[in-house]
Amino acid sequence: MIVLGSTSEVAQAFVEKALQEGEKFEKIYLFTSNKETTERFARHIDVKFLQQSEVIELDLMKPIDYNQLDYVNSNLIFCATGYLGEGTEEGLYDNKNTERIIDINYGKLVPLMNYFAQKFESKRSGTIIGLSSVAGERGRQSNFIYGSAKAAFTAYLSGLRNYLFDKKVHVLTIKPGFMATKMTEGLPLNPKLTATPKQAADCIFKAYKKQKNVAYVLPIWAIIMMIIRNIPEFIFKKLKL
């Protein structure tokens, strides 16, 4: 398995879930921008599941030497790379913040995804799982830069799915709603709408096994988003969301 964004608690929970369910991987490649905590995770899965893995430090904001990634190969890729950044109030006119959000969630991420997609395409097998966001379904005043980057990523995944369909590669888009992770800690989230990383991992694993195309982590989000998508724009623009 190839994991992009390995410090993500959802990614880690997914790796554990897959191993618990008896999935076999020759090696797990853990891409990360934080070597220290990811190495701890690598040791953890070695102790718990005798699973071999390799930590590969990669910073999307720096140029990537793809030649060095030549040997990285697998049948499954899990992309949890993401960056919330500052919301509209603090960060809209801060160009550094805006660029970073766009780059990490979309701009710099897509070339990396493409690099692996090409490997999958040439092998004509495999699954690509991408974590997008419900924030990408409609731009809301509170964090639409993040939302727009995720919207782009969602569109990318759907296009990729379409493109790779007859090449026998499956693409799964995950749209988590609120999640109780480090990224959201300290925010007043409604517990009924918030999934733990473990819940998310269970649901993603199920969707992966069933070869779903798009899955929400908590079913309630499918309903909420359907409503939000259908609010007419002349009303939506007046809402404080």
Binding site: T37, R40, R43, H44, G87, K182, G186, L187, P188
Partner: protein
């Protein structure tokens, strides 16, 4: 939206409830920043202490320190971060033929919490406290440094931290020994006792058993005081097991775990329901003595099968009163305690009696010493404090003490046995309460 880490926090007894800052981190640098940037910090594991020992102004939750570090499968030595739960340890160790030397009555406690409370199990008389099997641990101290503590290295901090209730710093990780087992089953005997005399005799007769514990029906009066069931057990060897368990002796089948979905309304738990519960519990076993093989989960963690059972006590919460009386006067003291409870009409759902072995003098902050302890759950209500005062009187009279990790109400003179832990950085609400009252 800016994050605001202030939230409602409460431990297993749902009493007290506080609104304080709670944060969890997994990067050591960020943990250091948290420690250095706050005046009063306290570590919190899985909140399975009943009262206020892991509550404070700035709570550092170890829930993200949840990784294993190493497992020496040959010698049964495991190292993990402090937020790893004992249930996580068992998940990987039992199939490999290893069990915890010492486990409390729930497996949902963290390794850090087990060290900070120096927990004991049904085998204290035979195998002591959790700390006996701890090889070393890493502790973040006041200045943010991380030090290794063992019997040889920083031994003063090692012993102060054991049973030190988090007041010496944050335990980041620990290395400890596991014991060999041949099966995941326990050879168990349960024996009914009619009264206190009988149960005390049974305890003393059972001293050669590794695990002993008794459940007491504490609403009985007069000659029936101390009506109880003693349970004793040993890890079963493979050859002893019944045929159907022999094939896969280290693996248990998955069981259904019911969850209590909401807080029970207050009226559900009253003297009558407690009476009925205890009646059924004792009548369930009709024979005087039952021998059986039970899986380790049922034997050690019968309460874990009902997730969130603490909600049965309703929103006002409950406390656990666990005290200890020296062996010589144990019976006499327990009798007084049980009489006082029976007369108060304030029933306890759960009363657990246990005989303890010799204390470890080096672990001077640990709770147990040679004697008997009784653990009682009480629903919080307006009359409770009065009852606790009375019980405290009796415990004091008999030179007993009460268990800090369960405490939230008791008199400070029974609890302030913490030595060498004073620090201006690591402060819990419990310690403040105790110091203010002494």
């Amino acid at each position: 939206m800016k994050p605001n880490f202030v939230q409602k926090v409460t431990n297993w007894g749902n009493f007290p409830i506080v609104e304080k800052e709670m944060k969890s981190e997994d990067s050591f640098k960020n943990i250091r920043d948290f420690v250095l940037n706050h005046n009063e910090v306290i570590a919190r594991g899985n909140g399975r202490c009943y009262g206020d020992s892991s509550l404070g102004e700035h709570i550092f939750s170890t829930k993200r320190l949840n990784k294993f570090i190493s497992f020496d499968r040959l010698n049964g030595i495991i190292e993990c971060e402090s937020g790893v739960l004992l249930s996580d340890v068992l998940e990987i160790s039992v199939p490999q033929g290893y069990f915890l030397y010492v486990t409390p009555g729930t497996k949902f406690v963290s390794v850090g919490g087990a060290i900070a409370s120096d927990v004991h199990g049904k085998n204290h008389h035979a195998e002591g406290c959790f700390s006996e099997y701890v090889i070393d641990f890493k502790l973040m101290i006041e200045n943010g440094d991380i030090i290794t503590c063992s019997r040889e290295e920083n031994s003063d901090k090692f012993w102060a931290t054991i049973g030190g209730m988090g007041l010496t710093g944050i335990i980041l990780s620990a290395k400890f020994k596991l014991k060999n087992i041949e099966s995941a089953y326990i050879r168990q005997e349960s024996i009914k006792a009619e009264n206190l005399d009988e149960i005390f005799r049974l305890f003393e007769e059972s001293e050669s058993w590794t695990y002993t514990v008794a459940w007491i029906d504490c609403l009985q009066k007069g000659g029936n005081i101390g009506r109880s069931i003693l349970m004793r057990g040993e890890h079963a060897f493979q050859h002893e097991l019944p045929e159907n368990l022999k094939k896969n002796p280290l693996r248990l089948k998955k069981k259904f775990e019911p969850t209590v979905p909401f807080y029970f309304p207050g009226f559900v738990l009253n003297a009558l329901t407690v009476k009925i519960f205890n009646f059924l519990y004792y009548k369930k076993q009709s024979k005087k003595e039952v021998k059986s093989f039970t899986d380790f989960e049922t034997f050690f963690y019968p309460l874990d099968f009902v997730n969130d059972w603490n909600k049965i006590y309703g929103k006002s919460g409950f406390i656990q009163y666990q005290m200890m009386i020296p062996k010589e006067t144990g019976k006499e003291g327990m009798k007084k305690i049980l009489e006082t409870i029976a007369n108060s009409g304030n029933g306890s759902f759960l009363a657990v009696l246990k005989l303890y072995g010799k204390e470890n003098p080096q672990a001077y902050n640990s709770f147990p010493f040679e004697g008997y302890s009784l653990a009682l759950d009480f629903k919080v209500n307006s009359k409770l404090k009065k009852l606790i005062d009375k019980l405290d009187d009796i415990v004091q009279e008999y030179n007993g003490k009460i268990y800090l990790t369960k405490d939230s109400m008791s008199r400070s003179s029974l609890t302030n046995y913490l030595k060498n832990v004073q620090s201006s950085k690591f402060v819990s609400l419990q310690h403040k309460r105790i110091i203010n009252n002494s």
